[in-house]
Symmetry: C2
Subunit: 112 residues, 2 copies
DNA sequence: TACAGTACACACCTTTTTGTAAGTATGGAA
DNA sequence: TTCCATACTTACAAAAAGGTGTGTACTGTA
């Protein structure tokens, strides 16, 4: 169990560190409806590489935003889901999403 | 006037492209109370380099989130401020900030 | 004359992030 | 025996992001 390190001093930066990068928010978004296996996550994010997916899942677990359950079976079965802290990210993603939608829409009427 | 390019297909990714990186949100946050000069922005974000600041301001201008006003004086005077679209980012930042605060607070009571 | 102040540009370098391709372990099915 | 599925790991390479240092333009001021 690693000590969680949060180097930044201001809360905006903290969040940026926790959630920054190309994939973390997309992974959390995939888990919004509950538990998923690695292979399911891959399907949900078609252009992520397996390495990236696992790597980012690990970071999210280190930050205590995602949990992992290993069934210890063969072939392996592992399930990922959001922690309470992870669920707290969902409304944030919703806002990001809405912002993107509005932004895109406004671009399509450049006459404004 | 460059055509604004938004390569991503989903609104979350669009937003991530617009606002991702280490500095953009911090710059927008600095502009929340109105117009600022470059030197003032630097003061507000002590550890950003001049190059990064200008570079990121340019990207924000390309995305139409920030505007620039050049007074054409010598020594140069230039002012930056948020566009309407840029102001729409502020509530988003507020949420990020609150998330960070809650996250940090929860870490300080690890007994939970 | 030398220097200060302001908003940049440019060259170069380091670090971080992301991607690619291969390999590992295991038991059951063919 | 060979192959499959699954969740990884590892080594390596490419690309993106970020940082440092220097230079430019111009005018006023000491």
């Amino acid at each position: 169990m690693e000590p969680i390190k949060v180097t930044a001093k201001c809360p905006i930066r903290t969040t940026l560190e926790l959630l920054g990068g190309k994939w973390k928010l997309l992974i959390i978004f995939q888990l919004k409806d509950g538990t998923k296996r690695l292979s399911e996550l891959k399907k949900g994010i078609p252009d992520i590489s397996e390495k990236m997916l696992i790597q980012e899942l690990k970071k999210l677990m280190d930050s205590d935003l995602v949990t992992r359950k290993n069934y210890g079976e063969v072939p392996p079965k592992v399930e990922y889901s959001l922690t309470v802290a992870g669920m707290a990210v969902l409304p944030l993603i919703e806002q990001l999403k809405r912002f993107g939608e509005v932004y895109i829409a406004s671009r399509q009427i450049p006459s404004l």
